[in-house]
Each structure stands twice: as C-alpha cells, then as structure tokens.
Amino acid sequence: MQQTAQQSLRRFAKVNEIIHKHGPVPAHLISILQDIQEEYRYLPEEILAYVATAMDISPAKVFGVATFYDYFSLVPKGKYLIKVCDGTACHVRKSQEIIEAIRRALSLSPHEESTQDLMFTLETVSCLGACGLAPVMLVNDRVHPKVTPAKVREIVNEIRLKEGGLIEE
C-alpha cells in the first residue's frame, strides 16, 4: 500500500483533456460525455457540473442530455453488467419473466439497478440484434441465447461462485 499525502482535490485534468480534444462547443457535448463515460465508467455529478461550467452550458442542460440517453449512466455500474433484451422478439418470448428472475436472483428492489456490493447491474435494452436467439441477454460482452429463468439463476450462481461469494438458493 502506498500513502499519498495529497488532499482530496481533483483538478479534472482528464476532463479538460477530453473537452480540449473536442472543443468546448455545445454541439460536441454528446461526444464529450461519451468519452467521459469511457474514461470514468459513469458520469459523476461533479464531472458534469465541471463540464457545464467549462463549456458555458447550464448544468440543467447537461443533465438533460445525460438523462435523455439510456447509454449514459449517472451512477457507477457493477462489475458484471447484465443487459436483457426486451425488444419485440424477446418480449413475446417472455423476456419479462427473465428480468423478474434476475431481479429475484440478485435481490434487487423494483427501482434498484445495481446490487449493493456493486457486483451486478441489471439493464434492459431495446434490441440486441439477435432476434433469432430470443430471449437473449448479455453479461458484460458475452451473449447468452434462449435463456430461461432457471438458466438465469445458473448464470448468476456461476459468477458468484467464481467471485468466491455465497450462492443464494
């Protein structure tokens, strides 16, 4: 372990670099936010406020853009990002049941997206372009075709086992 005497002060060097790369023009806001999410893995409030000030756009507008697109996340995501497809093909093949099964397996309350230990985040997406495999889900970048509630529990348990955690029955 290495001790750093540095104060908890951030100078936002990386954000400045990103803004500088694109130019502080309102039209580039989305690209800038994309790069920031790439770098920070989510869009922290402090960073968005900084971006607004640095680009002379109101924070409310930056917040509006960040909340409009599902791609952007304002909270940190878990180590395993589960994306369940709820497009038409998956929906008629009962993707809702899959979502419910995952929620139960992860003990997520209705509006919760991530587990408290930040191991999992659950998202629904509109189409993964694999309708032939419906219902389909992604865990990080791995595709799981034709999932069932039982299969979902298996996948979650497998990850938990790998991470050395307890398996919930």
Partner: protein
C-alpha cells in the same frame, strides 16, 4: 408588393409578421397557445394553435411562416376535435385539485380548457405524485402540474441567461427539473420568478405569505407597517379593471388601511435615500480613483447573479442597500423609538427575489429580519379580495408621514433606466430628464458630462443581456462609469410578482405610468426631499457617514461553488470542506485504470469486511470516479486521504485503524 392570405374566407394583408399565428391574431382571431411567447424562441410543442391550410393540411400556426395566397381555416371540425383531444390528454396527466391551487384564478390550462369546451376527461387519475419543491425563498415548484410547454425553460435560459431548469429524461418520464433534481435553493436560481410569470399552470408559482401577514395584523402587540414599491402603484389596478400604467396609489393605501395595516409608507422615500447615498458613493469613487464602473444594486436578482457568476465584480457593486432594505433599517431602528409595540414590516413588491433579499442574514438585526414579510403585487391583490374590499369604490388615501414623502427620482426606480436617471439628476449634471436612458432596448448607452469628466453610462435589463454585456466588457477596453442592471425585462414593472403574463405592451404602459408620476411631482431630485434631509440631520449625519453606512449599506460575498466544495478552477486555492461528519467515508475509485487493477474486488472485500465487523453505521462505502492518482491504482479515499496500491490484504488493517 403587399402580400395577403385568406383566413376563414376573409382576406388579410401581411408584411413583417414573423409567423402565421401573428397574422391570424391580426385578423382578430385569438388562437389558444401554451408554449408561444413573442419574446421567446418558438417551440411548437403544445399543438393548440393548429390550423388547416387548404393545400398543406393541418399545421401549427406558431411555427410556420406566413406565405402569400394561403387559405387558412382555424376552426374546422377536424381542428376542434384535435384541439379538444390534445387538451384532454394534457388534463389526463394533471392533478384535479383546481379549487385549492394558487393559480386557480389565472390558470391558462383551466381557461383554455373552458374555452375549448372540454367537459369531461375520459382517463383515470394518475397514481402517485412527485414531491413539491418549496426550498426556494420565492418560488414553489410542483412538477405534478407541469404540462411540459417549456416556457419556463426558455425564459430562464434565453431571456435571463441563467438556465437552472431544463428538460430531463424522456418519453413518459420527461420532466422539467434542475440539474441532478436538486432543490431550487441549492442551484444557481436567482429568484427572479420569470419562470413562474410565464408558467401557464401552477407548476411554478410564487411562494405566498399572506397568512403570516394576516396573523401579524390580528396580533395586538404588533405595529404593522407597509411599504409600497413604485412599480406596484402602476400595475395593481389592472386586477380591478384599471389600465396598465394608471396609478392606483391612493386606493392601494386605502385598501391597506382597511385590511388593518397601521401605517403605510412609500418605498420611493427610501429610494430617494438610495439615490443620495449612491450618487455620493459614485462621486467619491470618481474623485478618488476607486473602482469603476459602479454597478447599481437595487435588484436582488442581479446581486445574487453577480455573487454566483461574477465574483470578480463584487468590488464594483455599489454598497448601497436596495430601497426595500433601507426602509427596513429605517423602520426597525428609527420608527422603533416611537412606539412600544413590535414593529412588523411588510413590503409590497413587484418582485419575487425581494423575498430572498429580505431573508439575507446581512439584513437582520438582533436575529430578526428588518423586513419581516415581502408580499408580491399578486398576493396583496388576493388579500384585498379576501377582505372583500370593493377596490373600485375606495376613496383615495395618502401615505403616512414621515416616510410617505418622495420625489420623482424615487418613483422612476421601478422602470429600467430609472435608477441611473435619478442618480444623474442628483449629481447635478445640469439636466433633469434623460430620454436616452428610457425605452425598451435591452442595452441603452449614454454619455453625460460632469465637471469636465465625460461619463459613460450603460443601462441593461434582462440578465441575458447583462451576461452578454459583462462578457464583452471583460474583453474590451471600453471604460464605463456607471452601469445599471435590472434582472427582469422592463425593470421592476415587469417583475414576476406583478399581474401576469407580462407582455411587452403592458410593461411599456406601466413604465410610462411611472414617468407620468415623476412629471407630476413638484420635486424631481432626491436631494431636495425635505424628509430625507431631516433624517440626515436627526440621525444619519451626512451621506456616506459611519451612521449611514451602518444602516444603509451592505456587503456581498461570492456564492460560486457553494454546492461544489471539491471543485476548483485553474490555480484558485481550494476551499476545504467543513469536517462535520464524524462517520468514516471510504470511497473506492472505479475509474478505468483502477477498474483494470481490480478495484471492484477491493470494493467487494470492503463491503463484506464492513458487514462482518458490523460497521455499517459507522462507515459509509461508496464507489467514486477517478481520484487522479492513476499511477498508484487501485486507489481509495478515506476521509481526506487518498491511498494508492491498496490490496485486498490491506482492508482488515485499514478498517481497524478507523
């Protein structure tokens, strides 16, 4: 060549009209609108102004340009059905509590629904409701009543250049909110209330305080004193059938007395004091080479805006309090010597930001605010209605003395350019009326000669105009001597506390009304006010004296970064956040670098270790964004300290060290 079109079969010629809606209104047909204001950009969202053109079909009149030869129909069966259906859908999402809504009397949603003949809503009521935000001193935000017309968003951003509210989320979840859904009191809102003035429903409305005033009036231990701002005089009567600009001063005083106010005074008297102090300060700065330009500070929204966005200019702000606060100081110190009772000061203001100003800690003595309550013009109108007073039939009354005597200078304070004109008069520049400082232009400039100095003056209203002006000022070599800034379009006469909506034409009439008051007075120079002179003799000594400074002046502070204690710009010194929380805070960085070095595993180890030791109540654990110590990743932050290369084996030691 003159262009023309047919509207409902009648030929109408047009020329400069910027959209179809204006031409239709010219033809004498009032199409309903929620999202159209001639002073804001065109949004085309509410779909109320739909019209049918014979060749082009149904379109929104506000967002189409007038074309020669159009054949427009405004009320075909298809249009009527469409409008009614749109209205019904708006109402489906709207709470049905109209009888207790503060905007009941002037709700545009209710009015248009009535005009369209909507008699039933076929849809059920929405379950659940969003919390109402009453954190602000001036404005209440009730998102449940929002119809997403966006008037407030465009007003805040385009006219005021502030932009604290905006659209967020989308589809059925779309809402108008602040950044990160913070309460209004915690964002850079300047309390001007213009959002509420254009809101067609009760989604944004003035925080009403009539009940407090009624309680004070019914309290025998209190001497309730009112002050009336000049802009109120020329707008109040509008609610009772008078013309905008027609002064109703005498009747307002009579109504206040009937309601039960003990004494009624004129804020214009305090404005005369402001002129005397401010012109003294200006002369001093000019002669002694102190900081110029001098910015006026009568407008609390502008003062707050400067504190938020231009802290570097705070030394340029006049230290003079606004007339409202000068009056408050006078009442609480001078009047207090004349009575046994508790003095309770009520301001009648055209302004919502005055509510915020009255609550500023600088303006309290012995823990009590010097102005106890600020009522807007609208609130006083409601009190008159509550008291059942037939306003039109009242016999005119006059102000009480001593603070009821004002000069013309104190009266033109309510209109853009008025403060500057009053100060210039007092500086004895050999001119009384300054026509070049009057009118609706957003930025007005003038040059005036005084003792060999050529004074360069700018008068600005609308904070959006002020922002443009200040940003240019920072980059150019232009030297101004005196700059007046008023937040609301038109100055105080266009304040959000006035009867709304504030159309440009109405504002102009109110402004003319104030200039007429000024012309009708025997005295036009503040320094000629005999009561003001006596106040200096008895109490304040002389302009700029120590005594005057104690009661009539104030100071300002930067409000930048209040909610962002961690954030700094460039090389500015950081503010250290106060250490009040005794709980230990552990933040684990989940930025890309730390993520690849296993920061999630570290997070989970912490999570389980904290649970094992039952430390959840003492230690809070959170993920955070890049701690900017990437060479030492994975890093964590405990309290103020950042630690690098933390491994899972360190977790136990770190927790026992807490």
């Amino acid at each position: 060549m003159a262009k023309s079109m047919y509207i409902n079969g009648q030929s109408i010629s047009f020329d400069q009209e910027k959209n179809l809606l204006e031409v239709i209104r010219k033809a004498g047909i009032e199409l309903p609108t929620f999202c159209y204001y001639s002073e804001l950009s065109i949004y085309g969202a509410c779909r109320m102004c739909l019209v049918e053109e014979e060749k082009r079909g149904i379109m929104a009149a506000c967002s189409d340009i007038p074309r020669d030869g159009y054949r427009i129909w405004t009320h075909t069966p298809a249009l009527q059905t469409q409008r009614k259906r749109t209205m019904e859908l708006l109402l489906a999402n709207h709470p049905r509590e109209c009888t207790v809504c503060s905007r009941n009397a002037d709700c545009k949603l209710r009015e248009i629904s009535h005009k369209l003949g909507v008699t039933q809503i076929r849809f059920g009521e929405l379950a659940g409701s969003a919390p109402v935000d009453s954190s602000s001193a001036s404005i209440i935000r009730d998102p449940n009543k929002c119809i997403l017309c966006g008037d407030c968003v465009r007003m805040c951003e385009e006219v005021q250049g502030v932009g604290v509210i905006g659209f967020a989320y989308r589809g059925s979840e779309a809402t108008v909110t602040t950044a990160f859904n913070k309460p209004l009191a915690e964002v850079d809102c300047i309390d001007c209330g213009q959002c509420a003035a254009v809101c067609p429903t009760g989604a944004l409305h003035v925080k009403e305080q009539m009940d407090q005033v009624w309680a004070a009036i019914h309290d025998p231990g209190k001497l309730v004193v009112a002050q009336i701002a000049p802009a109120v005089k020329v707008a109040f009567g509008e609610a009772f059938g008078m013309q905008p600009g027609e002064a109703a001063t005498g009747k307002i005083i009579a109504a206040l007395k009937k309601i039960g106010f003990d004494q009624v005074y004129d804020t214009s008297f305090a404005a005369d004091l402001t002129v005397i102090e401010e012109s003294f300060e200006f002369s001093r700065r000019l002669e002694q080479g102190e900081k110029l330009p001098l910015f006026t500070t009568c407008c609390p929204s502008w003062v707050k805006y400067a504190e938020l966005h231009y802290p570097q200019l705070l030394d340029h702000l006049s230290t003079c309090r606004s007339p409202q606060q000068m009056f408050g100081a006078l009442a609480k110190s001078y009047l207090r010597q004349q009575t046994e009772k508790d003095i309770y000061v009520v301001s009648i203001m055209p302004c919502t930001a005055k509510k915020f100003e009255a609550g500023r800690p600088e303006f309290s003595s012995e823990g009590q605010p010097q102005v106890d309550v600020v009522l807007t013009t609208q609130e006083l109108i409601k009190m008159v209605e509550t008291a059942g007073i037939a306003f039109g039939e009242l016999e005119e009354d006059i102000f009480d003395m001593p603070f009821g005597f004002s000069t013309g200078s104190g009266n033109i304070f309510g209109v853009t350019g008025g403060v500057t004109e009053a100060v210039l008069r007092n500086l004895a520049v050999d001119q009384v009326f300054f026509k070049q400082l009057r009118g609706a232009a957003g930025v007005k400039e003038a040059q005036v000669e005084k003792d060999g100095h050529l004074l360069k003056i700018a008068v600005i209203h609308g904070l959006g105009n002020a922002k443009t002006f200040l940003d240019q000022l920072g980059q150019s070599d232009e030297k101004y001597h005196l700059v007046e800034i008023m937040a609301c379009p038109g100055g105080c006469i266009g304040g959000a506390g006035q009867p709304c909506p504030p159309a440009m034409k109405i504002r102009e009439k109110r402004g003319k009304g104030l200039y007429a008051l000024d012309r009708g007075m025997q005295l036009n120079l503040a320094k000629d006010n005999p009561i003001a002179a006596r106040m200096y003799q008895l109490w304040l000594k002389e302009p700029g004296s120590e005594e005057a400074h104690r009661h009539l002046h104030t100071s300002y502070h930067s409000r930048k970064r209040i909610q962002l204690a961690e954030m700094t710009f460039g090389d500015e010194a950081p503010e250290t956040p106060p250490q009040t929380d005794r709980q230990a805070e552990i933040s684990v960085c989940v930025g890309t670098c730390c993520y690849t070095k296993g920061s999630y595993d570290l997070f989970q180890t912490f999570y389980h270790a904290i649970a094992e030791r039952k430390l959840e109540k003492r230690v809070s654990l959170q993920a955070t964004f890049c701690l900017e110590n990437c060479q030492g990743s994975p890093c964590i932050k405990i309290g103020d300290k950042i630690m690098g290369q933390v491994s899972q084996a360190d977790v136990a030691d770190l927790l026992s060290d807490l």
